[in-house]
Structure formats: structure tokens, C-alpha cells
């Protein structure tokens, strides 16, 4: 595929920022494993906010448009209003119906739905930006799937991203403190870590305008779910097998099995504000247990 030109050939480069709507403080029921999330606390992750700031800056520098897109239920409208207020030129919500938080979503399906919606509604993007991985069980694979869907380059987990003179440059952390400098060919999908940048604060006039703006919605077209959950079950650890007690008397065997009458120290919670006292407590404990 011939690389689409960035600035030179294209009059109006399109920067798309994908924001994932998650509740960072969702409660998980320890018994059923059901996730209880609260739309009031939900929003984009810090990495997504960072991606939006990058998107706004790059679009500005390249004289292009920055569009914020989310695949989310209606409650996520607030997130898009905030993006508009911060300076996004347009927003788009890709609706998922019906939203069932128990169904695990897959990066591949998300990427396909997003790519279809972006192509249909916004055209071919020059650059797609997201946070490195979503705050809720994110694997960071969605941007990679997206690059495949859009058939373009990918650079993931970036800590720095800058655009100048028609070139997109980035920095990525590697193992052992090494850094990798990248020159990213376009079009591309990039994901960024929450580092270096903070999302700007929206001005009052643009906030007011965003409060009443119409938020366009398109239906998400997810053809085939690659992963289907048949049933969500609580975790049941496998039973641990114990050898049968050797006692001949059934009553004694029973006692041995239940652990009754056995001398045991009750668990202890220690709280003290004094570090020295806490250290003494710990040392005593370790000595008592024979570790020291």
C-alpha cells in the first residue's frame, strides 16, 4: 500500500483520538465476581487524557482536525463534551447495544467496530492516538488490532510524541532503562503512556459551547464476536487433598481432620504509630516463629 501523505498531499490531515470510558473505581463483588461500575465516576484514563492532549497539539501543528471517538454507552456523552470543550474539532460516539458490563469485550472486536465507524463517518485517518492500555483489564492490544484493521503502521507505549516539519517522532521506554527513538511513518496508530503531558483545562466559553452541542452517534457494527463468554462463574479453587489421619479411633480421626482441640495462636493485627515499636513487634513475631 502506498503510504498516504501526511501534510503535503493531504489538505486536511485527520487525527483521531480514541477515548475509553471506564470507571477506575469500579467495585467487584468478591462472591459473584460481578463488576459494579458507576457512570458518575467513569471517564477516560490518564493515558487517554494524555493521548487527547497529544492529538490536539499535533492537529494544531499540522493544521489538521482532531476528532475524539469513543465506543461506549450513552452515559459516556459527558466524556465527549469534555473533549469538545478542550478543543476537539468534532466528536463521535460509537454506540454499543445493549451494553452489558458482564460480557468481556475483546480488543479485536472493539478495533473492528471503531475502524468501521471512523472510515464511514470521518474518512481515512492520518493518525490514530489512544492511551497505552485501558484501565480496566486492558491488555493494550486494541491499538495493534486497530493498526491491522486500518492497514497502517503502529507504535505503542510511547512516552513522548512530537510533530514538527511534517515528521512524527516518538520515544519509547525499553527494558533496562534504555530508550528507543522512533520516526513514525504515516498513517499510523500510536498509543501513549500517561507521561510528560497533562490534558489542558478547557476555557469557559468552549465549555459552555460544549454543554449544549449535539453529540453525533453511530451504531457500532460488531459482526463476529471472536470471544464469547458462555457463563460467568465465581472462582472455585480446586479442593486440596489431605492424607487420611492414621488414628484408629474414628472420633480421633474426626478431631484431627477438623483441627479441634489443637493449640493454635489466633491471628493478630498490630497497629502502632511508633516505627520502633512496630519493628519490635515484627522481630518478636519472627523470633517466636523460629525464623530468627
Amino acid at each position: 500500500m502506498a503510504a498516504r501523505a501526511w501534510c503535503s498531499g493531504m489538505a486536511d490531515p485527520l487525527v483521531v483520538v480514541l477515548l475509553r470510558w471506564t470507571d477506575a473505581r469500579a467495585r467487584i463483588d468478591p462472591l459473584s465476581g460481578e463488576v459494579e461500575s458507576d457512570p458518575r465516576g467513569a471517564g477516560p484514563s490518564e493515558a487517554d487524557r494524555c493521548a487527547l492532549e497529544h492529538g490536539l497539539r499535533i492537529a494544531e501543528a499540522a493544521g489538521g482536525r482532531c476528532v475524539a471517538v469513543t465506543l461506549a454507552p450513552e452515559e459516556a456523552t459527558e466524556l465527549l463534551r469534555d473533549a469538545l470543550a478542550c478543543g476537539a474539532d468534532a466528536v463521535l460516539r460509537v454506540a454499543v447495544a445493549p451494553w452489558d458490563p458482564r460480557v468481556p469485550d475483546s480488543g479485536a472486536a472493539t478495533a473492528r467496530a471503531l475502524a468501521t465507524a471512523i472510515r464511514a463517518e470521518l474518512g481515512e485517518p492520518s493518525l490514530v492516538l489512544t492511551g497505552d492500555h485501558s484501565a480496566d483489564r486492558g491488555t493494550g492490544s486494541t491499538p495493534a488490532f486497530l493498526a491491522a484493521e486500518l492497514d497502517c503502521a503502529q507504535a505503542l507505549g510511547l512516552v513522548r510524541l512530537s510533530y514538527a516539519d511534517g515528521e512524527l517522532r516518538a520515544l519509547r521506554r525499553l527494558d533496562r532503562g534504555r530508550r528507543e527513538r522512533l520516526a513514525i511513518p504515516l498513517p499510523a496508530v500510536c498509543s501513549v503512556e500517561p507521561a510528560g503531558l497533562r490534558l489542558r483545562r478547557a476555557s469557559l466559553p468552549s465549555t459552555l459551547a460544549a454543554r449544549t452541542a449535539a453529540i453525533p452517534v453511530v451504531a457500532g457494527t460488531v459482526e463476529a464476536e471472536p470471544v464469547t463468554a458462555h457463563a460467568a462463574r465465581p472462582l472455585r479453587p480446586r479442593a486440596k487433598e489431605l492424607p487420611a489421619p492414621r488414628e484408629a479411633d474414628p472420633r480421633l480421626r474426626l478431631l484431627r481432620l477438623t483441627g479441634a482441640h489443637e493449640e493454635r495462636e489466633p491471628p493478630r493485627v498490630v497497629v502502632t504509630d511508633d516505627p520502633a515499636e512496630a519493628a519490635d513487634e515484627l522481630l518478636d513475631y519472627l523470633r517466636g516463629k523460629g525464623y530468627l
Binding site: R40, R201, A202, S203, L204, T207
Partner: protein
């Protein structure tokens, strides 16, 4: 420097704007603010509703009961749509002393059906619901935005507010300050008199999770019925009181503590609350519950005599910002007063705007006086002083418990003592003269009667 709202912030002098951005700005999307914005929007005026939290209710804490009568006038059939935890059908007033307690327990099934009396609800849900009504009527809610300073002309007219956002000045013909107990806006307008710390209490609250059935059993209620318990004598001598309310699957238990008394006591609020939770009358109710939220908020408890001026030039003050909270012992009501005052502020502003004459804002005071808002506060103006007095807080709880213990302790073969004798003895033991007792009883009768 960043724009901030605090005790040190001051008004900004500006020129009279030629065309204001809005007819009215309402600061604070609590019950007062949303009620005011709702009335203004309904009357067809453009109104911005500023809220510093990310959503209405995010910054707000209360005990737990909204008394809904005033809502009849604001939102017909509100009870069919309001987010309710439980309908209060049982109300208790409890006096605690040491390990003893005396409770007056009232139950009415009438309160459990329309038009209802009071409901427990979470503020995060209630405030958002009400602000939603204001938005549907046309008000523009602006969340995550702090009104930091009043915009004032040279001649003293309030013409808008500055916010903490870039390019953040917003102008309007009328500003309504519903910014709650700390109301830095009312202070900037010079409307607040006197020493606020002396008339302010700190409320601390724990929200405790229990299964719905356990709550039903422990509190003797069924379906969506709930209980409202007000307590005296549980604050270790610090002027204040306590409360315990039932939600669907949580309890709200908390304390109200006079700021001065708390500061002098050297005790920490959550410790005093822990002690209340260990009281033999309370412990069985809260046992085994899991803490899901700890919260704190101030309450203006001074009542009528400590209210600020309610009308300024182009400015109205409503709700807690105007100290319209009734926090005197067996009452803990503020949301209803905030709703009422916000509603009347909205109406007065709407008619002044329609008439094109800001002198019409004075109508606000008259509307309040002819309604429960100021009528109740005037009637109960002595209540805070009485309920928070040293005798009421430190001596009467013990006296009452002694008296009742004396009456019901069976000491056969000794004959039962007469009530008068018991009263004299226990009054003496707690250092209360019968004359003081009679005087307080009279004040109480005049105030509450």
C-alpha cells in the same frame, strides 16, 4: 496566579457589561441552586448553573433524609421519580447517657404511601436528579467549574462571577449564590455577619453496608420502609448530636459536633463516632457492617439570628449559604429549606428580570417570610441556643435516664418512689436547679410549642 475561591478571595471591579452572557447565574448545583435554576428556566430565562464538582452532589454530604413536602410545589408527583432509598415510616428520638438510653419511638404507616413525609436518599443521586430537572427545563449546567470571585461594578452592583477556567468571566443580570455553608460569594458581597466558627458544626458520617434483610430485621421495617433516629447526649459533652438512618442496603450513622467544642475537646471526630457505635443501644444495630464511605461536611446551625443579609444589589443568597439549615437537636433539616429558599429566589429573580427592575429582588425576602422557610426559622430562633446549651448537652441526658431508671427499677419490697421525688433527686445529682429546669421547659414550650 491561579484563580481560587477561599476565605481570602475578593470581588473584582469591572465595567457594567453591555450585554450579559446570561439572564441569571446560579452558583452551586445543590438543592438550593438546582431549585433556583429550575424556576428561572421554567420562566423562560437563560440561566447558567455552575458546580465545582465533576457532577452535582459530588461534594455534598448530609445525614440522610429529605422531607419532601416542599417538592410538591416544585416537581408534581416527585415521589414517583425521585431516587429513593427508603421511605421513613418510623422516627425515633434517643437520649443517651453512659451505657443507658431513653427513646421516643413513633411510627406511622401513613408516611409510607403517597404523598409521603420523608425519604432517605444519597446526595450524589438526589442532587443529580434535581439538576437534571433544571437542565431539562433549559438551564445550562457547567460542572467542574468553581466560581471564584464576584464581578462587581464601581457602584456596587453584582454583574457576574469569575470562574477558575481560562477566559472564565461570566456575566449576568442576576447572580444567585447557592454555594453552601462556606459561601465565599456571600462573604465577598459583605452580606455575612459575625463569627462563623461559633455557629458552625462539623458533620461526620459513615455509610455502612448491610444486607437489606438484616436492616429490615434490625430496625423492624419491611419493603421500602425506613427509620430515622436522632440522638442527644452521644457527643462526649461537645455541643451537638447524632443520627442514624436506614438506606436500602446501607446505614448512615454520624455525628454533628460544634466546631469550638470539638477544637477544645482534644478528641477526634471519628473516635467519638466509634464510641457511639459501641453504645449498647447502637452496637446491635450496626454490628458487622462494612464501611463503604467516610465523609465530612460543615453545617450552619445558628438559625435565624445568624443569617446573612439575603438580598444584595443584583445578588440573592439561598440555602446553606444563607444559614437556612435547621440543625437543632431533634431536627436535622436543611435540604427542604434549601429547596424552598432556592425556589423563591428563582421566582423573585424571574419576576425582577421580567419587570426589568432589580428592585424586584426584594420580593425574595417577602416570599420567604410568608412561607415555612422563614416562618419556621423565626419560630425556632431560640432552638439552637437551647439545644446546644451546656445543660441540654451535658446534664439533661443523664437526668432523663436517671429519672426513667428510677421509675422502672423494681425494688420490692420498697414501695415505688414518686416521680416528683425522683426528679428532685436526679436534678440535684446532675447539678440542675428546678428553677433552671422550669425555665428551659418554658423556653422549649415557647420555641417548639
Amino acid at each position: 496566579m491561579r484563580e481560587r475561591a477561599g476565605p481570602a478571595s475578593t470581588a473584582v471591579i469591572v465595567d457594567q457589561p453591555r450585554r450579559p452572557d446570561f439572564d441569571a447565574i446560579v452558583v452551586g448545583a445543590g438543592p438550593a441552586g438546582s431549585a433556583a435554576a429550575l424556576e428561572l428556566a421554567r420562566a423562560g430565562h437563560s440561566v447558567a448553573l455552575l458546580e465545582r464538582g465533576p457532577f452535582p452532589g459530588a461534594k455534598n454530604v448530609y445525614g440522610g433524609v429529605v422531607y419532601g413536602r416542599v417538592l410538591d410545589e416544585l416537581i408534581p408527583r416527585w415521589y414517583d421519580e425521585m431516587p429513593v432509598q427508603r421511605w421513613v415510616t418510623r422516627r425515633q428520638t434517643m437520649v443517651l447517657d453512659g451505657e443507658r438510653s431513653m427513646t421516643v419511638d413513633f411510627r406511622s404507616q401513613n408516611w409510607g404511601s403517597a404523598p409521603y413525609n420523608g425519604a432517605t436518599t444519597y446526595r450524589a443521586e438526589f442532587d443529580e436528579w434535581l439538576a437534571g430537572h433544571a437542565q431539562k427545563a433549559g438551564a445550562v449546567l457547567v460542572p467542574s467549574t468553581v466560581a471564584t470571585r464576584l464581578l462587581r461594578t464601581e457602584s456596587g452592583r453584582i454583574v457576574g462571577v469569575r470562574t477558575d477556567r481560562p477566559d472564565g468571566d461570566l456575566t449576568a443580570t442576576v447572580v444567585i449564590a447557592c454555594d453552601g455553608v462556606n459561601s465565599f460569594l456571600a462573604k465577598q458581597a459583605g452580606l455575612v455577619p459575625g463569627d462563623q466558627a461559633a455557629h458552625t458544626t462539623l458533620g461526620v458520617k459513615e455509610t455502612l453496608a448491610l444486607p437489606r434483610k438484616t436492616i429490615d430485621e434490625r430496625f423492624g421495617v419491611s419493603a421500602n420502609e425506613g427509620v430515622d433516629i436522632e440522638m442527644l447526649g452521644c457527643t462526649q459533652g461537645i455541643p451537638g448530636g447524632g443520627f442514624l438512618y436506614t438506606n436500602a442496603e446501607t446505614l448512615s450513622v454520624g455525628l454533628v459536633l460544634g466546631l469550638r467544642g470539638l477544637a477544645e475537646s482534644g478528641r477526634r471526630p471519628e473516635e467519638i463516632l466509634a464510641e457511639l457505635k459501641r453504645h449498647p443501644s447502637i452496637q446491635p444495630l450496626v454490628r458487622g457492617a462494612e464501611l463503604v464511605e467516610y465523609s465530612a461536611h460543615l453545617i450552619p446551625e445558628g438559625g435565624y439570628d445568624t443569617m446573612p443579609r439575603l438580598v444584595g444589589d443584583g445578588l440573592l443568597v439561598a440555602g446553606d449559604a444563607a444559614a437556612m439549615c435547621l440543625a437543632a437537636g431533634i431536627w436535622l433539616e436543611g435540604v427542604n429549606f434549601a429547596l424552598g429558599s432556592g425556589m423563591y429566589a428563582g421566582r423573585a429573580a424571574a419576576s425582577a428580570l421580567a419587570a426589568g427592575d432589580l428592585a424586584g429582588l426584594r420580593e425574595y425576602k417577602r416570599l420567604l417570610e410568608s412561607s415555612f422557610v422563614l416562618a419556621d426559622h423565626k419560630k425556632l430562633r431560640k432552638a439552637p441556643g437551647l439545644v446546644l446549651s451546656e445543660r441540654m448537652q451535658r446534664r439533661y441526658p443523664g437526668l432523663v435516664c436517671d429519672l426513667v431508671e428510677g421509675m422502672f427499677t423494681v425494688e420490692n419490697p420498697r414501695p415505688k418512689p414518686g416521680v416528683r421525688k425522683l426528679l428532685r433527686a436526679s436534678a440535684k445529682r446532675h447539678g440542675v436547679t428546678l428553677r433552671e429546669l422550669a425555665r428551659d421547659a418554658l423556653t422549649g414550650l415557647r420555641t417548639f410549642g
